[in-house]
């Protein structure tokens, strides 16, 4: 551990306002941490209040601090079966790492551990050269990645949690993960006792897994005409109607040809586009009724139309009822950034690479081994390799935590 990082982290926890550590039901949660300079996790600890927790953190400065999504009768019990599970928050993890974005070519690389093949961008599932699946990645984030992650958070809240699941804004806590994404914590009594299976259904709902348009208003009448959902409907029905409307009003002929699999049908649709859109908007709606546009093709259009509305979340986090997740408002050891709680109203303007930076005093001299272009706060630098730089403290700590730089005299 670099001494500058150790100093900065220690200072952070010493000067931290105790109120920042406020979480719901602290005494019922398991706390876990990886201390600075260590690799193994210390688990199964519990604290009666935030004051006790802060005292502990000043003595045992963590590189990473976690709390359990679960509430236990005995959170400190070392045996999971003896903890006495009482319930758990419902968590959504949005991670830019899991979302293929174009900018990944600029800042991410992967290496096959078997044949040493290398590449840039989103890592392949298996090595294109040898077919093995042991792939090591070096990933960075940029504004574009973080913006995409933020869009996912908005989508999740605005499209699903509020209208479909009836969750109110004050019941959702949004936290920057401290590195590459966001965590959403839903902490209502209603969701607390959901089982893993129940949570999987919710994850599948927002990811559109198993979604069948035929169950959401698309069907054929006896006379062969097609019935579809109404823009005014709630849930997936309304979402389908709205997204098909938007899709048809924006798509190109080429898009449509690929989706319906027939040039002729795509041409018919494009020629009648205005009439179709009016039909979908009508009350009650009237769908298609064009030659060659049968249910199968309508459904293909519907599926293409909703693609951008599906949430990119890590479902493993959502279905886990005993997850350890980063403690809000603490530091991420791989970035030095704060896993800051962000209110919904501030989310739009929240700039993680600026607003989650806590180290702002002076500058540090670091030796950068290799890094792409990086911005922290208003300071931007790189791409760079083998250079000695004097940079603002926040950026220096970031590069040291990422393992891309070291201290050299």
């Amino acid at each position: 551990m670099h001494r500058e990082v150790a100093r900065a982290f220690k200072e952070y926890y010493q000067t931290l306002d105790v109120g920042e550590l406020d979480v719901k039901g602290l005494q019922e949660r398991e706390i876990a941490l990886i201390p600075l300079g260590h690799e193994t996790m210390i688990r199964h600890i519990a604290f009666p209040d935030t004051v006790a927790l802060k005292e502990y953190l000043m003595e045992n400065v963590p590189a990473h601090l976690y709390y359990s999504s679960a509430y236990y009768r005995e959170p400190q019990a070392p045996d999971m079966n003896k903890k006495g599970w009482k319930g758990a928050d419902l968590i959504f993890d949005v991670d830019a790492d899991h979302i293929p974005t174009l900018c990944k070519v600029d800042h991410d690389t992967w290496t096959c551990l078997d044949c040493a093949a290398k590449g840039a961008g989103f890592p392949p599932e298996s090595c294109p050269k040898c077919g093995m699946k042991r792939i090591e990645t070096t990933t960075w984030v940029c504004d574009k990645c973080l913006e995409v992650a933020k869009e996912e958070v908005f989508k999740l809240i605005d499209e699903y949690l509020i209208p479909d699941f009836g969750v109110s804004l004050k019941e959702v806590e949004v936290c920057f993960s401290g590195h590459r994404g966001y965590h959403l914590h839903v902490q209502t009594e209603d969701v607390k006792t959901l089982t893993t299976d129940g949570r999987r259904e919710i994850a599948d709902y927002v990811r559109g897994v198993g979604l069948d348009p035929k169950h959401q208003g698309f069907r054929v009448m006896k006379d062969g005409s097609i019935i579809g959902p109404d823009l005014r409907d709630g849930g997936w029905r309304g979402r389908f109607a709205k997204s098909v409307y938007t899709y048809l009003s924006r798509c190109t002929l080429e898009d449509l040809k690929a989706v319906v699999g027939s040039d002729e049908v795509a041409n018919t649709i494009m020629r009648n586009r205005e009439r179709l859109l009016r039909g979908i908007m009508a009350n009650p709606p009237s769908w298609m009724g064009l030659r060659g546009v049968e249910l199968g093709r309508t459904i293909r259009i519907a599926k293409a139309a909703i693609r951008d509305l599906l949430c990119n979340i890590d479902e493993r986090v959502t279905i886990d009822i005993k997850r350890l997740i980063r403690y809000p408002n603490t530091l991420h050891g791989k970035s030095g950034l704060k896993a800051a709680k962000v209110s919904y109203s501030d989310l739009e303007s929240f700039d993680p690479l600026k607003d989650a930076v806590v180290f702002k005093s002076g500058s540090i001299k670091v030796y950068v081994k290799e890094a792409p272009r990086v911005r922290i706060g208003d300071y931007e630098v790189g791409p760079m390799r083998d250079v000695q730089l004097e940079v603002p403290e926040g950026l220096g700590i970031y590069l040291l935590c990422k393992g891309a730089a070291e201290l050299r005299e």
């Binding site: 089982t195 299976d197 997936w236």
Partner: protein, 351 residues
């Protein structure tokens, strides 16, 4: 308003339990002549379960019916057989479903509230030409619906808005009756009915039921004795093919294939052979993990393969065949196919 006739129809309701409690009966009391009808009715109810019939729908004497239910449960739990609990729960589920689906809306809502704390709201909402009768909070729907296999029960294929799932009456009847079944199954894990607590007369009834079980129970475990290669489901076949080709698999994939093989009767040695082609194969480490999964070391828990839903979420489901549609667990697929294949072979031999 729930009447005494309703309590007889739905004796699992809280109100029915209070009714029973007000009698303050012990096992000794029930063994007396005065309650012989109750005992008889309880035995009949368990018998229906064992034989796979539904308990009679017509309620002759509501009082007997209500008092007999907890005794029937005591018999079921006292028999200490998971098979009986399952059969009984199934027959009670079917009975409850038949009764509920023709019930009045208000009554259904009351059963939901008193039996399961479900806040069922009557509605006449029509959405895209579909009329719904009820709405139910999402979290209550999810207590039960994940135990159904069919895709139309998936939340994503439901009308969900404002935190509520919209349902037709027959669907609510299905959900409530399934909730009853799950409740009976769950209680079996908690209840500890000891036979010696029962008086002679009730013990005799219990023994009679035990005899009936022996006559009725068809052992289906025998399908598992030898490994039937052709009975493996497509997901496992695909993983085994990857292993044979030397591909290294994800943690979840390795866990799935190992638990599957162990649970279909392969030995640790046999399982390890499947992994030996993989480039990063480390026998010591692999053996430790396989033995752990087999429950030979460590926590001594024998792990089961994940069910189809989980495999689907992890991208390990390869699409499936006609048999997959009937099952929701890879082992269930295997059992079904193995039994069928064996039956066929036996038949061929016989012919």
């Amino acid at each position: 308003m729930l009447t005494i006739d309703d309590l007889a129809k739905y004796p699992f309701l809280r109100r029915a339990s209070s009714f029973v409690e007000s009698y303050g009966l012990t096992f000794q009391d029930l063994a007396s002549e005065e309650y012989s009808y109750v005992v008889q009715r309880a035995v009949e109810r368990v018998r229906c379960g064992i034989e796979g019939r539904w308990a009679e729908l017509n309620v002759v004497d509501p009082e007997t019916e209500i008092l007999a239910y907890p005794l029937a449960l005591a018999f079921v739990y006292g028999l200490k057989s998971a098979w009986v609990v399952r059969r009984f729960a199934n027959s009670e589920q079917k009975r409850c479903f038949e009764l509920l689906k023709n019930e009045e809306k208000e009554k259904i809502a009351e059963v939901g509230k008193d039996g399961f704390d479900w806040d069922l709201e009557g509605t006449e909402l029509t959405v895209s030409g579909v009329m719904f009768d009820f709405s139910l909070p999402v979290e209550k729907y999810l207590e039960v619906a994940p135990s159904f296999h069919s895709p139309d029960w998936k939340l994503v294929n439901r009308h969900v808005t404002g935190g509520r799932v919209y349902l037709k009456q027959v669907e609510v009847a299905r959900l409530l009756s399934e909730a009853l079944k799950l409740k009976i199954l769950k209680k079996a894990e908690e209840e500890d009915i000891k036979k010696f607590q029962m008086p002679e007369k009730l013990l005799l009834k219990l023994e009679g039921l035990e005899k009936l079980i022996k006559e009725t129970k068809i052992y289906d475990e025998d399908a598992m004795v030898e490994v039937v290669e052709e009975a493996k489901p497509p997901c496992i076949v695909a993983l085994l093919k990857d292993l044979a080709a030397g591909k290294s698999l994800s943690h979840m994939a390795r866990f799935t294939v190992t638990t599957f093989l162990i649970n279909t009767g392969e030995s640790v040695e046999d399982v390890l052979k499947h992994f030996s082609n993989v480039a990063d194969f480390d026998e010591g480490k692999a053996r430790y993990q396989v033995e752990h999964i087999a429950g030979l070391i460590g926590s001594k828990t024998k792990y089961m393969p994940p069910k189809c839903d989980v495999l689907r979420s992890f991208g390990l489901c390869v699409g499936g065949d006609a048999y997959c549609k009937k099952v929701r667990h890879p082992l269930q697929y295997y059992k079904m196919r193995a039994r069928e294949i064996k039956r066929k072979k036996g038949w061929e031999k016989g012919a």
